[in-house]
């Protein structure tokens, strides 16, 4: 029972991380209908920048904020420079471009920062919370992960649901041409979507780095599982990304714990297949997506 408890906590903290990156994928998919395979690598790159800032004496929280801003700028630039020229052509091409970007970013990080292993600090203590006399497998930092991801998620939801900017963003994502006819500057809003995704990606990078082998490739598997979560959640819904990521994290933790770590991806695959057999467009697909 106590093992189950530990596996659950571990699944939640990993799941929240998958949720954050899944949210980034969802924001981009909503805006431009492509999967950004470079999303994890972008977070990796900005975390390396954070690492450099920290080494130069910048305080953690300043670095944190700066790097989220850089993530925003990087996401927006990617859309403008690499994705925009391919609009209206084959849908596969921009995906290949993001794969190319992934390779380039990992190469750049390797070339600049080298192969030496390095650590990355956590925002809060990594010792587990104590209840009575026992310490549980959930640290202060895990609490921070939970809070940070939820804050981001809620901020995005408020933006979408309660602001006119969000209304414009939703409209341009759902119906670009009609929105333009209504005077909405769709182009800039798609860029904005990529920028927001950049923030989510950077945040994920900062949250994963302290508890992983921080290096050019540490986000690769996170991206795969985040993609799983996003697909399960329906690719267009931020809430779906949250639930999908969480479910994926829990599934992987249980499978790894009870059946062995080599079966983790197989567990995720089975989960994905079951979810998609029930709902081929994900659990939180828009009702309107299924046109009457």
């Amino acid at each position: 029972m106590s093992l189950f408890f530990n596996y659950t906590l571990n699944g939640i903290s990993n799941g929240m991380i998958y949720s954050a990156l899944a949210l980034a994928l969802v924001l981009i998919f909503r805006a431009t209908k492509i999967i950004n395979f470079a999303q994890g690598a972008a977070g990796m790159m900005t975390t390396f920048i954070a690492s450099s800032l920290l080494a130069h004496g910048v305080s953690y929280w300043w670095a944190f904020v700066l790097v989220l801003a850089i993530g925003f700028a990087f996401g927006a630039m990617t859309e403008r420079i690499l994705i925009r020229p391919l609009q209206g052509k084959s849908e596969l091409n921009p995906v290949i471009v993001t794969i190319g970007l992934l390779v380039v970013l990992e190469g750049v990080a390797g070339a600049i920062y080298g192969n030496a292993s390095r650590g990355f600090p956590a925002a809060y203590s990594q010792s587990g919370l104590t209840f009575g006399h026992s310490r549980i497998a959930f640290s202060h930092f895990d609490v921070f992960i939970l809070v940070a991801v939820l804050v981001l998620m809620i901020a995005i939801l408020i933006l979408f649901r309660a602001t006119t900017l969000g209304l414009r963003m939703r409209a341009s994502a759902f119906a670009g041409e009609i929105s333009r006819l209504l005077g909405v500057r769709v182009g800039i809003l798609l860029t904005l979507g990529w920028g927001l995704a950049g923030i989510a990606g950077s945040l994920t990078g900062l949250l994963v780095a302290p508890t992983s082998s921080f290096g050019p490739y540490y986000m690769d598997l996170v991206l795969v599982y985040a993609f799983t979560g996003a697909v399960i959640g329906g690719l267009e819904s931020p809430v779906g990304a949250l639930i999908g990521g969480l479910v994926t994290g829990l599934c992987i933790s249980y499978v790894g714990g009870y059946l062995g770590s080599g079966l983790e991806p197989m567990g995720a695959l089975v989960l994905l297949m079951v979810a998609l057999m029930a709902r081929p467009e994900g659990l939180f697909s828009r009702p309107a997506a299924r046109r009457v």
Binding site: G114, V224, V231
Partner: protein, 343 residues
């Protein structure tokens, strides 16, 4: 389909001249290109012609390679039979993935196949006594006839296999079934109204495509001589998709370009980065940067892949007709291939 055959014979002739005049290492690489052409041709059929994306073809290759290797380890079967078993086993795997795939749209299918590519290799690692673990299983090519070098002989087997696959697929694409595949890609509802069994068509496309990947996996295993899971990482599946798009989605001949890129692009990148006289570590990473940059630039500069670009250039040539001697190319240049879209 005589044209395809003439073309293949022509190709075989050229390849004969090439293989007997190049070094042993070049023979090895030409054989690798041929192996990649086999898997890319299958992928091109699935993605370009039938509109289903796969990020898991590396895993189908692993299925084929392990099947042949296991048969070589435990049986005395005929070599051709062992290769065909790779096609069969990978085809069955394709069936298992293809059936659920019929209900999924582009990005959802991409997610499922990506996980498949990640999930399969650790399964083999779970039973090292059966699958050989890190040391893997040994694969041997039958002895070369006469004094032909093993490299040349293997290259011949691989090139022959690739030509056979290309001819079969080209015939298939020009048959009624080829039109069925395309009809399903273009509009599933219209296709089903026209009496096409959409689900069966899609599953069959997956099976054929996976079978090709299985054969390619066995071929690459023969090149290496040993099969272990490290040779089928997630990046392989992703590179296959990139090479397919770079070659020219939907074209079969374009897959030769794709194969050449898969084999030579990393080497060109490495030798190019070597000119900058950087430390070994930086230089190695520079090679990957060049590789990625080529992907990006190529996609922006030649959105329809190399074959699409060539066709475009051919049509610009003064006095040229429209018929290009490509086999089984289907996607018109400029026509978007709806794959990763939700609309």
């Amino acid at each position: 389909m005589l044209r395809h055959l003439l073309f293949a014979t022509f190709g075989a002739g050229i390849m004969y001249l090439v293989t007997s005049n190049i070094s042993l290492f070049d023979n090895y690489q030409v054989g690798q290109i041929a192996s990649f052409v086999v898997v890319l041709a299958g992928l091109s059929l699935l993605t370009g012609v039938n509109g289903q994306i796969s990020l898991g073809h590396g895993a189908f290759m692993a299925v084929g390679a392990y099947t042949t290797a296991l048969l070589m380890t435990h049986t005395q079967w005929n070599f051709i039979l062992e290769l065909l078993s790779a096609v069969g086993a990978a085809g069955v795997a394709g069936l298992l993935i293809g059936i659920p795939a019929t209900r999924l749209k582009g990005p959802y299918l991409a997610g499922m196949t990506l996980l498949f590519a990640l999930a399969l290799p650790p399964i083999a690692d779970k039973w090292p006594n059966t699958f050989g673990g890190d040391q893997g299983l040994t694969m041997t090519t039958p002895n070369a006839p006469g004094t032909l070098s093993p490299q040349e002989w293997l290259a011949w087997i691989q090139i022959g296999g690739a030509l056979i696959v290309l001819v079969l697929l080209a015939n298939l694409l020009h048959s009624r079934y080829g039109r069925t595949l395309r009809a399903v890609r273009d509009d599933e509802i219209a296709a089903s109204l026209a009496g096409i069994n959409v689900a069966r068509t899609k599953v069959l496309a997956f099976v054929i495509s996976a079978g090709c990947a299985g054969l390619a996996g066995a071929f690459l295993g023969l090149s290496t001589g040993v099969v272990n899971t490290g040779a089928f990482p997630l990046t392989l599946s992703i590179q296959l998709l990139a090479a397919m798009v770079l070659g020219g989605t939907g074209s079969l001949i374009g897959m030769v370009w794709g194969g050449i890129l898969l084999v030579y692009l990393p080497q060109w990148s490495t030798s190019l980065s070597g000119h900058f006289n950087l430390g070994s570590g930086v230089s190695a990473y520079l090679a990957t940067i060049i590789f990625g940059a080529v992907l990006i630039v190529a996609m922006i500069a030649a959105p329809n892949g190399i074959q699409g670009g060539l066709r475009w250039a051919w049509r610009r040539l003064p006095g040229s007709g429209s018929g290009v001697g490509g086999s089984g190319s289907s996607a018109a240049p400029g026509a978007p291939t709806p794959v990763l879209t939700d609309e």
